[in-house]
Structures are given as C-alpha cells and as structure tokens.
C-alpha cells in the first residue's frame, strides 16, 4: 500500500539516499576491480571508466538526500518526544550520523585529491574503506528502519549471531569516550607535527599534495 501524507517524504528521501549511496559503493568497487582486471571487453572497460565519476556524483546526491531524509524523518514520522526517547530510533540516528560522516569524508577526499587518488595506494584504499564503512552503516540504518516499520530485516540473523541488539540503546561509558577522544587528538597532533617536519625536509616525490 502506498504511503500517504507527509511521511511519504521520508520514504522518498530514504529510498533516494539508499539507492544513490549503494550506487556509489558499487561504482567504487567496480573501479577498484578495474585496476586489477585490466583486460576484458569494451563494455567492462567503459564500465570501469564511468564508475569513477559515477561514484562521486552518486555519493554527492546520496549525501544530500541523506540529509533530506534526516530532516523529513525528524519532522514527518513520529513526534519528536517519541523519536528522542526510543532506543531503536536513537540507535538509528547514531548510525545515520556515522554513515553521513563516512560519505562526507568520501566526497571531501575525492574533491581534494581528484581522480588521480586512484593511482596512490594509500589514498585508494582509504577511499574504498570510506565507501565500505559508509555502505555497512547504511545497511544497519536500513535494518533498524525496517524494525521501526514493524518488519524484519535480512540482517537480523547476522546481527543476532554477532550479539548486536539494535533495540538496546548503544552508549559508550564516559571513560571510553575520554580514551577515544584523547587518542584521536593525540593522533591528529602527531600527524600534524610529522607533516610539518616532512615539509621542512622536502624530498622529491614524497608528498601527497592536494590538487
């Protein structure tokens, strides 16, 4: 039965971002495979060539529609009072935030370094890792969304096997939060210092300069 009313906007934007980001992930994987499978027929070569810009465009569209989905979800589904007190919904919002971060980083990385990032091993794997992280979290978002619609998810058995219960509110302890944030801060500081030192001792071909 088709959805009616304003909740349909959330359904539309949810379908849109899921489709676009799945396309972005698939295009990324195809382009990665294209680096190894260099032979093949003309169709495969064309697919590999087109997959690179497709991944970027689909990711941009996906990020925008994901933001739209967040807005319509908050405004048009259930009352905010219910949304912000349901452990399932809060878990879904959290995973959505993680997915959005992955895909935003994916787009930003591609915009800064351009298509040549595929010729740099480190950047290439980072790019693929970001797409994979974004896609996996996207699957989890879809799974919890299915539960909220009163349905079961294909991921249920896997999540059950892994001991993950998306119905229980997932929170980190304060000590874990402090440890993680301190580690990230330390890592960023170390990377910045290392970068500055490397820039003072330039060596030919040593830098990963942005475009």
């Amino acid at each position: 039965m088709p959805e009616t009313g304003r909740v349909a906007w959330h359904v539309i934007t949810a379908e849109l971002h899921t489709g676009m980001l799945t396309l972005a992930f698939a295009s990324t994987i195809i382009h990665l495979l294209g680096g190894w499978i260099t032979g093949g027929n003309v169709v495969w070569r064309a697919l590999v060539r087109l997959s690179e810009p497709t991944a970027l465009l689909a990711a941009i569209g996906g990020v925008l529609s994901l933001i739209g989905s967040i807005i319509t979800g908050l405004l048009y589904t259930w009352p905010v009072e219910v949304l912000l007190t349901s452990s399932v919904v809060l878990n879904k919002i959290a995973i959505t935030a993680f997915s959005l971060t992955f895909w935003t980083a994916f787009v930003v990385t591609r915009v800064i370094y351009g298509a040549p990032l595929w010729s740099r091993v480190r950047l290439r794997w980072l790019y693929v890792a970001l797409a994979t992280g974004g896609f996996l979290t996207l699957m989890l978002v879809g799974s919890t969304g299915g539960h909220l619609a009163g349905k079961r998810s294909m991921l249920d058995s896997i999540l059950h096997y892994l001991g993950i219960n998306t119905h229980l509110l997932f929170t980190l302890s304060r000590s874990a939060v402090y440890v993680l944030l301190s580690a990230v801060a330390l890592l960023l500081l170390s990377a910045t210092v290392a970068r500055v030192l490397a820039l003072r001792r330039p060596t030919p071909g040593a830098e990963l300069a942005p475009r």
């Binding site: 009072e81 219910v82 349901s86 980083a105 740099r120 119905h167 929170t171 944030l181 990377a191």
Partner: protein, 236 residues
Amino acid sequence: MAVAILILAGGPVEAAPAPLPSIDGRIAEGEYASHYQARKIGMELHWTIDGEFIYLALRAPTQGWLAVGWDPTGPIMEGEDILIGYIRGKELFLQDYFANSSVTHANDVSLGGRDDVLEASGSEDATATTIEFRRRLDTGDRFDRPLGRGAHTVQLAYAPTDDFVTYHGEKRTVVKIDFLAGGAVETGLFARPRSVDAGRNPFASWLLTVATGVILIAGLVAAFLLWPRRNRNLPH
C-alpha cells in the same frame, strides 16, 4: 479495591449478566457484559468473560486500523500484548502482536509465539470500523499478557489507514480496566516516554557517543591524510 475503580473521564461501564456475544462483526445493544467508551477519541471497547475465554469488541470512527493492547512494561508500549486489525474490502485482517520496543511491535508468530485469536469478525461502514474476537484470558504464549483479577493498563488506538504500522497520532488513550470486575478509569496518556534526562542520563550518554563516533571517523581520516608517507604511484 478492584470494584472501587469506576468511571472517571470515560463513558459508562456496565457489569451485568448477558448472553454470550456472537462474533459477527456487529455490536448489538447489550450484547456485551461490560463496555468502556473513550470519549476523547470516540472509541469503544466491549467485553464479556466466559470461563477461561474473553470476548472483546472494538469500534472506532475510522476506516483504518484499530487496536487494543494491555499491560506494557514501558516505556510507552514496550512489552504490551496487542490485538490490531483492519477491514479491507469485506475481509478482516486481525493479528496478535507484541510490542518489542517502546515504539515498535511485531507479530507474535514472527517473534516465535502464536496467534491466539480463536475467532474473529469485523465490519466497516462510512462512519466506523468494528472488530470482534475471542481469545483465552491466559493463552500461555510468552508474547501475550494474561488477563486476571485487578486493574490492567489498557491502551486503545486507531489510525486512518489499512495497515499495521501507521502512527496513531493523537488517536490513542490509556485506561485502567478491571475486566473481571467491569470497572474502568481513564488515566490519560500516563504512559509517556521516559524523560530524556531521567535516571542515569541516557540521552546525554547517547549524544556523547554519537559525537565521539563522528569525531573518531573524521579524526582518523584527517590523521591518515595528514600523515606524510612516500608516495607510490601505481599505473591505473
């Protein structure tokens, strides 16, 4: 004590001997031993107990789904035993549900339980939908709540669409009913969501967790990109 629970905000409740109701999708005058009318949302609940069975009837001014549920453990409807149904065409779709979270519910069968509706019928016209059914007071199913002596927290709700998921919005009420004694008292929407800053402050912990996750992902990516390393260009 149970008898002391009487009508407050709701409509009249009657407890009088009556012949067993017929499950035919229509509620006749005096067919049921007891009834409760939720005036705020215009919904009626009728019931008769016969030994180990209970006959229940629902009527609401809608052409969509209507539901009755009882004894949630909370928050909101979590742990509630729910019977929800609608009429499409001439056919009744009634299912035995269980609220597996504060805002979601699932079919008992899908959770590993049983559908314990023994017989059911319903009808729909331009003004209202009526659903009648019979089940045991205690089904023995772990996804059902037994109806015994004393007041039960009962939630009544309906929505304008023929499905099991559309949000009911304001068309919901909560009432305390003693099915055996025939008393009811409307409690308002007492089953409110838990306060986001109650207890050990779960909302703040959740917010901190989300922020940490986002910073972790962004921070690791930034550190990875900043870190100088010899470039190994590969043909691609």
